[in-house]
Subunit: 297 residues, 2 copies
């Protein structure tokens, strides 16, 4: 597990170094929005989505530098989604990773625009000639297409829309699964897929990568529900029992703790099995699944 953590930290550090360089530099009144973008994009996070791009690319190529802008684009989409999720009209969260959320630090209008600008920047960065010149243009086009779809109503935003529509309602199991798969799963899956697309992997390998990431993402969500009941408030950094208090339908409230734990195990095993269809050394990706799924916080 230590090797996995080390490798993940290495990916995160490589990304951290380039992400700042992708941000617009402008000593002008729009600075507040530029600063809000940096505030939310830089300085922290596990960079799981970026790491997935790099790790799957790495199965095919020793050198991962050319894939960094694409890993960065995934992190921009993730940062945009967190900023907009925290806004008063959405989850109305004042804190994010222990710091004031973007709109608390910069104001609502600035946070709205910072999110919009990060979303646009992701597509700008992916197609910037300096970045795309290392790949056949067809691969870059496919990566952009997959990311656009995974972000939109057929993906992450669609998951948020279901979440919104179900607020204060009982959610049927099927819809809960669909929501999780879209809300978190879509971006994780497309991160893995983009790593494969850029690497020139065949279709079957790309599908296996998507399977892996989707299973890990869903297991991660169920683990969230489990930790909300069995977790340690101090480790989690948030009070346990909040789902129940809010009357939220979760995997645990639907099936119980034991079934939820079994499902996490089953999904983790399926995720690892999917990796068997991929070439190269998949140890990091197997360990990453364990790390994300068997966590205490």
């Amino acid at each position: 597990m230590e090797a996995v953590k080390k490798q993940l930290a290495w990916y995160a550090d490589s990304l951290e170094a380039v992400l700042a360089s992708y941000l617009p530099q402008c000593p002008l009144p729009e600075d507040q929005v530029a600063q809000a973008m940096g505030y939310s994009l830089l300085g922290g996070g596990k960079r799981i989505r970026g790491a997935l791009v790099l790790a799957f690319y790495h199965l095919y190529h020793e050198e991962t530098e050319a894939a960094l802008p694409y890993a960065g684009a995934l992190e921009m989409i993730h940062a945009f989604s967190l900023i907009h999720d925290d806004l008063p009209c959405m989850d109305d969260d004042d804190l994010r990773r222990g710091k004031p959320s973007c709109h608390k630090a910069f104001g609502e209008a600035q946070a709205l625009l910072a999110g919009d600008a990060l979303l646009s920047l992701a597509f700008d960065i992916m197609t910037e000639p300096q970045h795309s010149r290392f790949f056949p243009p067809e691969r870059v086009l496919q990566a952009v297409n997959r990311l656009g779809r995974a972000t939109g109503l057929g993906g992450m935003i669609g998951g948020q829309a279901i979440d919104l529509a179900q607020e204060g309602k009982d959610t049927p199991a099927e819809l809960l699964e669909r929501m999780h798969k879209l809300k978190t799963g879509a971006l994780l899956a497309v991160a893995a897929e983009i790593g494969c697309i850029l690497a020139g992997a065949d279709r079957e390998a790309g599908q296996a990568a998507v399977e892996y990431a989707a299973h890990v993402g869903f297991a991660f969500q169920i683990m969230d529900d489990i930790l909300d009941i069995t977790g340690d408030t101090a480790l989690l950094g948030k009070p346990v029992g909040s789902d129940e208090a809010n009357g939220k339908t979760t995997y645990v409230s639907l099936y119980g703790l034991d079934a939820a734990r079994n499902e996490v195990e089953r999904l983790n095993a399926k995720a690892k099995k999917a990796l068997d269809k991929l070439p190269g050394d998949t140890r990091f990706l197997k360990g990453l699944a364990d790390l994300l799924v068997c966590r205490q916080s």
Copy 2:
């Protein structure tokens, strides 16, 4: 002028017909967001941005059908910007084109997500294989890159950020010009440029197209300021004198009415002159400049 209006209406109609087909069809709880997307994207508007893509493409190719998805993408970006602009934390507008604004009709969270989803959809539609297969992939990549940049902090969103930062402040002339050029000009210019890029036009032609659209866009903005003073409330559909009442710095407040009128004429002439560098029949584009600049409302 009638011929220009007819051609513009033809472009708008062609777009109207395809835009609905680009929207996601999902009879599911996220429907509210899907409906909000359709509400704001469909049924109205002059489709200037879409028409610019088609008209510049048409200078090179008789048949413009292949460019329609790209014209549609421009209209999606425009619709997204209007939805987010109207939100309470931005301009807080209850009405848009005489109908309730998106958040008034569907709720703030739904409007936020509808805007985000339209922005993502633009990039999805541009790179969808069914649409991109008619063009060399390099051209599509370039079009995506230009649109990403023109939308983000270096373009439209940057203009909104300046506007936000200058609220209630005196705006120096240079900054006012920069704001207008970004806020409206960037998207108009990139629409013209994308038409040229897809058509396979050379660099010089693309630059002339950008020049044309940027001049027209700036003249259009100044005309807005002029009409706010000299316009007819009934024709405009909004009260005249609102800029002055709100203490807003405008081109007219800086330079006076006569100078503003002269500048509009000068920009219109420059816009038309830029068209001389382009091949084909530019009569529609010349007429479009007149139509947009010499308007009464």
